[in-house]
Symmetry: none
Subunit: 207 residues, 4 copies
Amino acid sequence: MEQQSARLGRPRSERARAAVLHAADDLLVELGYAAMTVKGIADRAGVGRQTVYRWWSTKAEILLEASADDARQELAVEPASDPVDGLTQYLDALAVFLTRSHAGAAYRALTGEAQHDPAVAALLDGDDVIGDSARAVLGRILGEDADRGTLDQATALLIGPLFYWLFTDHDPALLDTRAMAETCHLQLVRAGEGDGAQARPAASQPL
Amino acid sequence: MEQQSARLGRPRSERARAAVLHAADDLLVELGYAAMTVKGIADRAGVGRQTVYRWWSTKAEILLEASADDARQELAVEPASDPVDGLTQYLDALAVFLTRSHAGAAYRALTGEAQHDPAVAALLDGDDVIGDSARAVLGRILGEDADRGTLDQATALLIGPLFYWLFTDHDPALLDTRAMAETCHLQLVRAGEGDGAQARPAASQPL
Amino acid sequence: MEQQSARLGRPRSERARAAVLHAADDLLVELGYAAMTVKGIADRAGVGRQTVYRWWSTKAEILLEASADDARQELAVEPASDPVDGLTQYLDALAVFLTRSHAGAAYRALTGEAQHDPAVAALLDGDDVIGDSARAVLGRILGEDADRGTLDQATALLIGPLFYWLFTDHDPALLDTRAMAETCHLQLVRAGEGDGAQARPAASQPL
Amino acid sequence: MEQQSARLGRPRSERARAAVLHAADDLLVELGYAAMTVKGIADRAGVGRQTVYRWWSTKAEILLEASADDARQELAVEPASDPVDGLTQYLDALAVFLTRSHAGAAYRALTGEAQHDPAVAALLDGDDVIGDSARAVLGRILGEDADRGTLDQATALLIGPLFYWLFTDHDPALLDTRAMAETCHLQLVRAGEGDGAQARPAASQPL
DNA sequence: AAATAAACGAGACGGTACGTCTAGTCTTTCA
DNA sequence: TGAAAGACTAGACGTACCGTCTCGTTTATTT
C-alpha cells in the first residue's frame, strides 16, 4: 500500500543528466561561452536535443548547475586566527577560482551574460555563490549581529577591487591582495567603532 | 609636394555611418544587447548589410563607436577643491553613467560580453574609457609622478566596489559613495607616506 | 526476422515535399527559371529554407522532380497501326509538351541550363525523359533487336529538327511534322535494308 | 562645313572595349557561363564596373559581341562541287565549332540561356549566326528562288539532329554526319520535284 | 591656353539571394 | 512516459554580386 504511487513512466536518466553537464563544462573550456550551443551540448553528450530542453531552459542554466557545487567548494575558506589573514586567504582563493578553475570560468561568463540578459541575472541573483562565500568570511569577523546591508557593503569593499581587476582583464599577480584585505579590515573596525552606525549615502560615516 | 594623394572612389557616406550608430544605440535600449543583430541594425538604419560589415566587424564595435564619445563626456568630472569631494563626485557620475545613460548601458553590455568573447575584451582594452576617466581623477590627487601600476591599483580600489555593486545588480542608492571615496583617499595618503613604496603582493604595504 | 527496422526520428513530411514541388512549378511559370530562387520557393511553399536544402541541392533538382512524372505521362503515345502516323503523333505530342505544358517549360529551362552547368547536364543525363520516350516509339518500329547506338541516332534524326526549331524560338505550327516523320521513317527502312549495317562516321551508309 | 561635328568629350576607349571582350572570353572558358559575373569581367579587364554597364546591358551581350565575328568566320564553308560533300563539310565545321571553339562554347551557353531568358532569346534572334551560315550553304543548292520558309525548314532538317545530339551531351564522333547530309539532300531533291509545293502541316508533302 | 564635356578607374551605396547555422518544436520508434 | 533521433519552421549569419551613384582623373573638342 504505497501512499504515493511512484511517478509514472520512465524515470529521468541520471546518465543523460551527467553527460549534459559534463559536455557543457567541456565545451565552455574548449569553445568559450559565446560559441557554445544547445545543439553542440546535446550532440557532445550523445543526448537528444529535446532531452536538454526538457530539463533546462538555457545554456546558462546548464552551466550554473554544472558549476555551482564546484564553486561552493572552491570558495570555502577555513577560519584563520588573524582576520586579515583570513580575508587575504579568501581573496587569493577567489582570484584562483575566477582565473584558473572551470567553475570560475563559468561564473565569469554567466556574470558577463547577466549584464545583458535579465534571465541570467535573475538566475545568478537566486544563487549568489560568490557573495555568499564572502559574507560567510566577513560574518566570522563582524559577528552574528551584523545586518545584511552592512554585510553587503563590506562584501563590495572586500571583493570589488579584485572583481574589477579581473573583469578588466588584469593580471591577478600584480594585485596586492593583502593590502586589499587590510583596507577592508580597517574599514570594518572603523565602522564598528561608530556605534549604531547605519550605512546610508546621506550620512558620511565610512561604512 | 602632396603628402597624400586624394582617396579614390566614392567617399564614405557620413549619413550611413551616423544612421548605423544611431540604430545600434536605439536597438540596444529597445531590445538589449543579446537581441540586437547586425541585420536589425542595417534594416533600422536603412542601410545595406554590406555597408555595415565594410566598416565594422561586430555589433560590439558598432556599439563602442556609438558610445565612446558620450561616455568620455559623461565621465569627465571637473576638479574639486577637496580631494574626497572630487572622488565622491566621480563615483556618483560613474553610478549615474552605468545605470542611467545609453552609453553606460552599452558599456555594461560590452564589459559583460568581454567576459566570454576575447575579441570584445581586446576592443575594450584598447579604449578603456572608464579606467582612463578614473585615472584622470586620481592623477589630480596623486600628482604627476604617480606611476601606472599605482594608478591602476588605486583605480581598482576606487571604483571596484561600485563596479561590483552594480554588476551584481544592486541598487546604487544603497551604496555610500562618500564612504568609498574616503576609504580610497585614506589609502592614497597612507601609500604616499610610505616613501618609495612599491606595490607588490610580496610586500604587505597597503598600496 | 525483420529485414529492416523502421527508421528512427521524425519521418519526412510529404506535405512539405509537395508544397515545394508545387511552388517551384508555379514560380517557373510566373517568373521564369532565371528569376526563381531557392528562397522564393521556400517562402512560397511555407517551408523552412533548410528543409529545401535537406532534400534538394539546386533549383534544377527541384524542377526535375516536379516535372518528370508529368513529362513521362505527356510524352507517352499509344502505338498506331501506321508507323508514320505513330511518329507524327509523337512529334506533335512533343511539340505540345515543349511549348504548352508546365513540365515542358521546365525541360526547356533545364536543357538550356545544362549548356552551361555540368551539374544540370549530369542530372538530365541520368533521367532522359524525352530521349526515353522517343526511343520507346522508335523501338516499336525497329523491333527488339535494335541496338542502343542505332536508336540514339534515329532519335536525333526524328526529334532533332523539331528540337532545333523550338529552341531557336520558331512557331511550331509552321513546321511540317508529318514530313519530318516520313523522312525519319524512310531512313529507318533504308538502314534496315543495308543488312548488318553499323552506323559509324567512316562508313557512308545512311544510318 | 561638317554636317555632324565630332562628338564632344573623351572618346570611347578601344583599350577598355577589347579588354572587356577578352576578359569575358577567358572567364567563359575558365569558369563557365553561370559563374561569370559582370564584376568578375570588369575586375579581370582592369576596368571600372560602370564602364561595362555603359556599353553593354548584360553578360550575354558582351559574350555575343566577343564571339560573333569568330563564329561567322568559323562557320563559313567554301562551296564544294558535290552538294552532299558541301553539306557534310558544313556539319563537320558546325560540330567542331560547337564542341571545340571558344566562340562555340559562347553560343551553346547563350542558346541555353535563351531558353529561360527572353532578352537573350531576342538578342540571338537578331543575329542568328548559325542559322545564317546554314541557309547560305543550303541556298547554294536550292538556288536563288528558294523562299525563306523552305530554307528555314531545310535548315532544321540539316542541323537539327546534330544540334540535338550535342545539346544532349553526346559525343560528336559517334554521329554519322555524312548520313545526315545525305538524308537532308534527298529531301531537298524530293521537295524540288513536287513543283510549286508549299510546305504546310495540313498538306502531307514532305517538305 | 582655357573651358567644356564625356569616358575612365575606383569603390561605396542600398538591396537581395546565397548556403550554413542554431533555435526551439514536433513526431516518430524503442526501452 | 522518457529518451534518441531527426525533420520541421523561422530567421540571423557573413559573403557575393547586382546595378547605381559619386569621386577625382584623363582625353578629347570647342572657344
